[in-house]
Symmetry: none
Subunit: 196 residues, 4 copies
DNA sequence: CATGAATGAGTCTTCATTCAT
DNA sequence: TATGAATGAAGACTCATTCAT
């Protein structure tokens, strides 16, 4: 009886208003680890120690929850994309490559989910448009940097860069081999971190 | 009664022994189009006009069916990989690149499923080892060709080639943009179809 | 912050004390339109822009709310039943028939709910006794009028009248055909608006 | 163990292929007794001692089950409507009235459900069209009979007859008062079983 | 080989209701 | 009075799988 009371207080102090965010966080992790379809809403609630009603109070459906997670992913990528400092383009390009490599390692689960959603027929449409937008945006940034660095054909070079970058992503997110990731990032630097 | 009998004969003549193959074919298509989890065994049976009992007679579980499909996919890739003629290495390399491009377009559903399985946590383990094996094998073939063509560093070059190839795959299978596919294959040729 | 404060004042000025009545009104409308079971308390609250807590503050349960609505319906019928003026019985009878016809059209939703409650097993008991009471009361009024008008057998005539009236109600509230309603009311007048 | 075996045999002997019909029968009864919304599919299955999967195997949704029940109801009415013998019109009219009265008593649950569906907003559309069709058909039959019996205005008379009949139905199905039912049927006969 | 009725655990979702604030 | 987050039992429905025939 007393312990119940204490638990209630603890809950009200710690978890107040955090339920919605907690759901997104845990659900993202679980979707990434076990897949969207293999993760039941009940399992999410159980892990969070909340009622299933609460999940549907905040997110009216499982898909809405997924959308909230996708929003989070997209916003994370936005942050990475906008982490540019207006310094020397070579330094900046190196920085971008490193930042991506670090993020791939650090936020791996999050990128795993990204890939799973992108190549799963029934979730692809939820994320594809935004992925393409980011790719375009990213290629544009590379284009500007390569141009500044004196590339004779920044359009072609940034295209190659982007295809290579996607290759690195796809490889790493398939097998999670960090050595290969580092090797391919080094190759990327070797290829484009030059003065044309 | 008679018509039933006739139907049975027709069935036995045309479809006998094909059931198992048919199931694999249709299931592969449906898994590719709608996803493994979103495709029920009942839906497969309905499309094939067979009873669900028959499906489970041939494949004792849905996962066994998936394994059969994966075997089919792997064997298809084997065929593509072994389509080599011992002619001029430049011609052969060009042929390989074209063959991949053609296959991506022609067998798109099949590659779609390949990617879906590879990036879905609960199916990844079923396919990853074989994918890595193929990648290694493929890189080896490219290595040999580039070496014959006089590459100074065929190890590095074949590595780059493979990453780029994966990038092409991942891009095309995300958005199905054929123009981009052709453009990036052309770039691949431009980069490696040279005499070193 | 200020605007929130202003909103609160506005609310307190306009809507204070009306909440309970508003709930009854809107709930009645929604029950009539979509059915009691198909109308959630949450939906009612949303339409009224109030919290679900408030609804349950005023009505401790959904059924209590339904009871309040039934009271409203019954009181409405009382008003119709008591709209008698002690004038010529023929005029009064005609007036009653017209009043019913007008009410059926004007308060249709309200009568729709009345019928839905009466023929639904789990709500029937809430309303049946009062419906029967009204029917009796109504027949008595008709009895008196027909007697005054010289009917030789006002008991039989008022019985027929009441059955016919119920038939009009049941027909109109099933298909909402106004032409049929008018035609059958005209028949009712033709039959009973005579000097015996 | 043995008893289980025996039960299985009993089941296979008695219930084979009857499941679908049994579901319709029991569901109709339960819908009539407790209302469509208040009767869960689980409750139906429990009463029948079958798995919930089986219900949805035969009827892909609860509403489809309801439709099957409505079909049954409609077919029952069809039978009643077509129980005409080409004898003397007065005898036939009397027979029809009696048949309806008997059916109201004997098949009460079934008519209760009929009314519940007709006056419930979300089920009305499933049944209204067919109810109107039957009413029209019925009135036409009465029209022909009254005409044969020498009615000067069979159109008006059959109209009155139908409204009165609906009144009888609506009254009886509201309160289940058999005395009143008999009295009003007698009135119906008194009014129309005459030689004009 | 082939059928299809039957199972039962599992899935997402709804909803009246409570309660701390 | 009023809020709205939280509950939890119940709801309809799905689906891989089994088995008697």
């Amino acid at each position: 009886m007393l312990s119940q009371f204490i638990m209630k207080i603890e809950k009200s102090v710690k978890e107040k208003k955090n339920a919605k965010k907690d759901i997104v966080q845990i659900a993202m992790k679980m979707f990434a680890e076990n897949g969207y379809h293999k993760t039941s809403t009940a399992a999410i609630c159980k892990k969070l120690n909340i009622s299933s009603g609460l999940l549907f109070y905040h997110f009216s459906s499982k898909e809405k929850l997924l959308n909230a997670i996708i929003d989070l992913i997209i916003s994370k990528i936005d942050i990475i994309l906008n982490q540019t400092s207006n310094s020397d383009p070579r330094i900046e390009l190196e920085y971008i490559i490193d930042a991506f490599m670090v993020s791939l390692k650090k936020d791996r689960q999050f990128w795993d989910l990204y890939m799973a959603l992108l190549y799963q027929p029934d979730t692809k449409e939820l994320i594809l448009a935004r992925v393409l937008e980011h790719s375009k945006q990213f290629r544009r940034a590379i284009y500007e940097l390569l141009k500044k660095m004196g590339s004779k054909n920044p359009s072609i070079d940034s295209f190659d860069f982007e295809v290579f970058r996607v290759g690195i992503f796809a490889s790493y997110l398939a097998n999670h081999d960090e050595q290969l990731l580092e090797k391919s990032c080094k190759r990327l630097k070797n290829k484009y971190l030059i003065n044309y």
